[in-house]
Subunit: 282 residues, 4 copies
């Protein structure tokens, strides 16, 4: 497996071009957050905003509106059972589905409707309970730019490989059967693009806390919104999440999602202004 390099990160996180506007940096929709897991959608959306996504909306249970706006007035909201959801979906560049979505009947219905409506040039990041639902219901996968972000148990459900047998080779073999890129999250996260396998060299157990995975989905979405759907973009998002958490963990016993989110803009500023040839030094 290859390791993600700092030089790659520097190439991806470019200084912004003067002539641009918010639409330049992606229209992003986070779909998730039922009445029990609303925080997951809030964290995903917050990460998307702080990682530089241009315009971030959240489709969620309406009980989560107040908390979302109180934390993140930069985001827009639509109740995920609003008939206008499908229309809104069509205007998006990158969609995350799954954080805090749950596995109840409505979640399945929303996932199915989303799969049916998504178009090939859109990116869809499939996370959390959305992965479980795909595994349980053998859903027809949409023709779109896909990214999967299972943790080990979700990967077991999706791939059929028991956690103890999730070797890089077994994982790569299973990932190759899925369209798009698969990120198997563990203490050493592996990323399987359609052509290659990578390991994330950074990150630590300080990230082992509720909400870390949700945060990652928002970063990936923002990166694709800004830097395009490329393998490098996804690799840089995974690396950035862990690198920022490592920085937080130098002074904090746990790297909580809200801490990582707050630090994202500083880290990205630092990387984007490194000379391209010195990038390996940060």
């Amino acid at each position: 497996m290859k390791s993600i390099t700092p030089a790659l990160i520097r190439r991806v996180i470019r200084p912004r071009q003067a002539q641009s506007y918010k639409g330049t940096y992606g229209r992003i929709l986070i779909v998730g957050g039922n009445a029990r897991f609303g925080g997951a959608a809030i964290l995903s959306a917050s990460a998307a905003v702080y990682a530089g996504g241009g315009l971030v909306s959240v489709a969620t249970d309406r009980v989560n509106r107040d908390a979302l706006h109180a934390r993140l007035p930069e985001a827009m909201i639509i109740p995920y059972d609003d008939p206008a959801y499908i229309q809104l979906l069509a205007t998006m560049d990158v969609i995350v589905i799954g954080p805090g979505l749950g596995t109840e009947a409505f979640a399945l219905q929303l996932l199915t409707a989303t799969f049916a409506a998504i178009r090939p040039q859109q990116t869809l990041i499939i996370d959390g309970s959305a992965i479980t639902l795909v595994a349980q219901h053998q859903l027809t996968l949409p023709k779109a730019q896909l990214v999967w972000t299972p943790h080990q148990m979700e990967w077991q459900r999706l791939s059929g490989i028991a956690i103890a047998e999730q070797t890089p080779a077994a994982n790569q073999f299973a990932a190759a059967k899925l369209p798009g890129t698969v990120i198997v999250k563990s203490h050493r996260t592996e990323i399987f693009t359609p052509t290659d396998a990578y390991q994330n060299p950074v990150g630590s157990a300080a990230m082992a806390t509720g909400g870390s995975g949700d945060t990652l989905t928002g970063i990936i979405a923002a990166f694709i919104g800004q830097f395009g759907y490329h393998d490098d973009t996804i690799l840089a998002a995974v690396y950035t999440h862990s690198a920022v958490a490592d920085a937080v963990a130098t002074t904090h016993y746990v790297a909580l999602p809200s801490m990582v989110i707050t630090e994202l803009p500083r880290y990205m500023a630092k990387i984007s202004t490194l000379p391209l040839d010195e990038s390996s030094r940060h």
Copy 2:
């Protein structure tokens, strides 16, 4: 076109006079924030409070009450469908209409009622979907001190000039037909007063993120509330918004509205205490 100068900013942002009270610094009303875009009204109001507005109220959908107070207990709230709205409007010095207002039937009704009720000595800042509504419905404009804050697409709707053809000369010609001052927001924002044309020399692509425009409206409102309705006041508000964002962007990849809002009081303190003759140095 003229460029806005630091010396102008220093002349506008004066130290406060000892003998004053909160009413001295303006009664400001933000009208906007429907059930989907509540954050826009919250950001506009937050900017108005942090930029020094004396008393800030928000007329918004009642679903936004909790989030507004949780973020900004300094502001007051009235549901925008409350019959007392028109009465409250009459007590205001500066009104912003548009951030997150939407373009649905109720928004049009509220805009029309506001236009009908506004009086000549009041300032009305017309933003976002309120501009779109004016363009779509050929509304009769009120006799008041007007400020328009379209982004390029809204300016296309209002002026009929396609984005690609929005040259300074074309913009100035179209702006001259509108009462008041027109601020055409882009990566180099232009300001057309009734007599002159200016370009904003500061700001960067770090501001290209959801909520930047809402933030600007609150700063303009607070500046007019404190420093009066003058060309210089409006120019200083535009410049201040971008200068603060530039300061934030030295260490952050994106200059999010909530970061810019937090920094406003520090920037204004620094400017207000510069000697008048050294103002060009900041």
Copy 3:
């Protein structure tokens, strides 16, 4: 008129005694915050908590619950129309009534019920619209330890003295007719105890912003809860509010209530650890 001295502040803000518990530092109730002015009650309660009050509760419109807890989980809440309100009132040491209360029929009813239920050993701080209601309705004043905190317009309503004629002598004459201590807020606040008249030597126009008065009520309540109902306690509270705002204003154009509230514990720590004989140096 006498000036409040730093030495007095130091005498009041004492280091805490080791053998104590939260009840030692006062049970405080903030009564206010209707559906339009909920922020006022939140700011008053926040100031009471951050100024060291032992146990702070808020009786307010139930629409303000979410925002209060989101900002200040340290406080407890009861809807002010809950029948248990009067019972709760009886357990309190210090009550603030008025911040954001409004002047509608229910506000008058609540004020009247509170006046009827209050007992002589309790302290009642009467602020904002509660003052206006007393002036309008010639209410019978309760036998309790009273503090009045009118701004100039409220003082005009209460005393009958037009703002332009509010000289120290006229104010003192009118204040002497009221039971308790009267604080007439202006750019140089005056405090009239039953026996003496004081002027606040600190504070600035940076405090001329919505919510400053609400913040003061919370500080007074917390100080009385901790240091007892004495003239010095009230004087120290007024001085502390302005001194903290002055510190904030050295780097901020406006000293917003939330900034002042955050800084209260630092200021009080600094004062409480000054040697008693060096107190005049801070």
Copy 4:
């Protein structure tokens, strides 16, 4: 009585092992927060998250959802009257019951149901009004790993010993009759394990403020979730709470729960990286 030593703290707060995931650090459930005391549950949950608990859920009155998520998106929520509560309970490692629970009929019903459902290998921390309910209703105690956290008045209710007579010897005698560990909170907190008695050497009157006790419950829960149910774990949690408050109090007159919570991860990072043999120096 023995004193808790810094060396013990260092042994408990270990660096995390690389090969771990969020489940490794405990599934924690906070049960409490009625309509009046919602902040208590929020503070307990916040302390559990910031002290490193792996996955934190809150069972509370549904009116507290917005405020909980607005402050702490890392937590999950279930209304405590949801039929799924008992099912959720079964998946937990550590449960706190009591912060802001109140003593009304539903609270008793919830406590009784929890006692009936809890299993021997689960830890149950009994706090606040849950202790009062146990004392009032002579409830049958569950067979589980118990921790009791009464303040002096609750201890009087539970043990029958009047506050003035709560000597270490009397307390130890009464504590020995209860299963599990008893923490009697006062200005010098005492901890009675099944075999030993300890006194907490740190802490100060700056902690005498509403919410301190709630914060302690969350820290204990997180510590047991991460470090196991041992006497040392509980002792370290009590010490850590006070040591962090002492650090806050060097610059703040009151050590508010939200300040203590924010500082927890820094303190734990510092301790966990001390050499084991130098632990006595921090």
